[in-house]
Amino acid sequence: MELSLATRAVGKHTVLEVGGEVDVYTAPRLRERLLELVDGGARHVVVDLGRVDFLDSTGLGVLVGALKRLRAAGGSFALVCGKEPLLKIFRITALDQVFPLHPTVDAAIGADPSGAGA
């Protein structure tokens, strides 16, 4: 399935809903969109992976890049991921210790101290 990207604002947070396959071919589009968001002033970004059915190392690299950029800018970055196959990918790569991972968008926003009061 093709990559789909949809953005919505929830209070101070920008939620990017990602769907389909994030791989070496589609990951550049995800990188571009995240860069646009940060360049456009978004500082508290939640990426919802709920509709992602494939995620590879290239996609993970893009997500880590966004996390680092936002932290350097004093912002926050969190992922929403409730599916076991995807969670296993985060565990195997130790990225579950790098990303704040939440089961729902509400949980991600609620757990973000820097963006509280949304």
Binding site: V24, L60, V64
Partner: protein, 144 residues
């Protein structure tokens, strides 16, 4: 014994095709249904690695994927890049992954190896027998 060979120009757009073919042949060979996600991911990572190396070294030759089901499901992904083949890369730990100085390409390479090593029990990375290049060989059990 059945063998399926696929060779593709080293372009990211074709990696998905290789994944789809690899999983279709795995299913046909009798790989357990609950392993197919791992097969898909591992073949994708091996092909992504090969495409990245061909692009990095300007190698226009195709990447070869060979799937066979003689006894087990074995997949070889062969690149033609002039590098020292090794899987001796240590997996990156959380501190290294979060380190600001680690660039995205190196991070992706490290994460890709972690996924291959984590998802494929029977994994070998070695130089090809003839000429330059690396072969990533992955084997999964099949049910008969």
């Amino acid at each position: 014994m059945a063998t399926v060979r696929l060779s593709f120009s080293p372009a990211p757009v074709h990696v998905r095709t290789a994944r789809l073919v690899g999983v279709a042949v795995a299913r046909r060979a009798g790989v357990r249904e609950d392993l197919l996600d791992e097969v898909r991911l591992a073949i994708g990572e091996a092909c992504t690695r090969a495409v990245a190396l061909h692009r990095q070294y300007n190698v226009p030759d195709p990447v070869l994927v060979e799937m066979s089901d003689s006894g087990a499901y074995a997949v070889r992904v062969v690149d033609r890049a002039p590098i020292e083949a090794s899987i001796g890369l240590a997996a990156l730990d959380a501190d290294q992954l979060a380190n600001e100085s680690l660039n995205e390409d190196d991070l992706t390479t490290g994460v890709g190896f972690a996924l291959l090593a984590g998802f494929v029990e029977d994994l070998q990375v070695r130089p090809v027998d003839e000429g330059v290049g690396t072969e990533v060989r992955m084997v999964w059990p099949v049910q008969r």
